[in-house]
Symmetry: C2
Subunit: 208 residues, 2 copies
């Protein structure tokens, strides 16, 4: 029985992996379950037994990716709120944040969800709640803590978190939505976006 | 002959109008030229005579809409650079800017272009150059002038323009990409995004 369960789990994860590759490369409409089954080397019946239909498979993939990124981001905000050197650690945080968001898989997923938001409004909402909204909530809670510790002046943590996030991310993120995989940024550019975003944020929300 | 030209121009504009409505409602793939012809009450041959194919029609529409919005935005930046009361006029400018960008037609167009960027990379690039890039360039030139007049401290006008634009726009724009026409914002919310974005910008780039 344990062997059988292990095989099932392996098949499920092979299907998820194959489908992730195909959805991100060919879009939702361009992907069909026959191809997913072939690439995962399972039968089409096995795909259906595990995921009901293409929409369910797509939705499980989107939510899996956003959850892993969200967990990582939350850990970053928890580390930041205990900082002893705000400017230095906020700059480090900003550099890690931009690096997390411009990963090709994350960008492709974001474009795909926006592109399919007309057909799958529920999925787009769920993505928004679990990815951008969850990130802003975690960051807001971190900024509130930093304000309580006397390191920042923040009246509205939610708004301050949005300002910080968009100051750091918007330049590369906006460009990547239109240029796709060709929107390459050098490490130097990304660090500059992070550093300058933090500079503007601290000018408005810093204590000194 | 003049009568004939007038009829042609009217037909062309009827096609553009019908196609704009259909593309923005049904997406690129969901729209076909038979429907465009029927809604414009012209023959399908007339559609092809004017636009070669669906891709050309789509591209002409996208570029027409972005050009009109771009012209209007450029006029706003030219007015701002002669301000006698920066904080007041920058706040007015920010409120007008956010109102321009959250128009349903502009948001639908942006979603559509992002969604089709895999299939039409050229169109997405052209859109990006003529819409966001052109806006940032116009704003950068305005901020440079304001710095020359001693009203702002700006080392890198391009970066400062991106910071200002994203501080003002990102909250509603990001949400609208995922929530579609359901991402409604009250006038009060939009003014607050504009006002707070300007506050943060002036803290970092203002003279006082």
């Amino acid at each position: 029985m344990a062997v059988e369960e292990g095989r099932s789990a392996r098949k499920r994860s092979a299907i998820m992996e194959a489908a992730t590759t195909l959805f991100l490369r060919k879009g939702y409409q361009g992907t069909n379950l026959d191809e997913v089954a072939a690439q995962a080397t399972v039968s089409k019946q096995t795909v259906y037994k595990n995921f009901d239909d293409k929409q369910r498979l797509f939705s499980d993939i989107v939510l899996g990716i956003t959850e892993r990124a969200g967990d990582r981001f939350q850990a970053m905000t928890l580390a930041l709120q205990d900082t002893d050197d705000l400017e230095k650690d906020l700059t480090e945080f900003a550099r890690d944040y931009v690096a997390l968001v411009v990963q090709p898989q994350a960008l492709r997923l974001r474009r795909l969800v926006i592109g399919e938001s007309g057909r799958f409004p529920e999925l787009a909402r769920t993505y928004y709640e679990r990815a951008p909204d969850r990130a802003i909530a975690a960051l807001a809670s971190c900024l509130r803590r930093l304000a309580e510790r006397g390191l920042l002046r923040v009246d509205d943590p939610q708004l301050a978190a949005s300002h910080l996030a968009f100051l750091i991310l918007s330049i590369p993120l906006d460009r990547a939505m239109f240029y796709g995989d060709d929107a390459r940024f050098s490490a130097t550019d990304l660090e500059r976006f992070a550093d300058e975003g933090v500079r503007v944020f601290l000018a408005a929300y810093g204590r000194s």
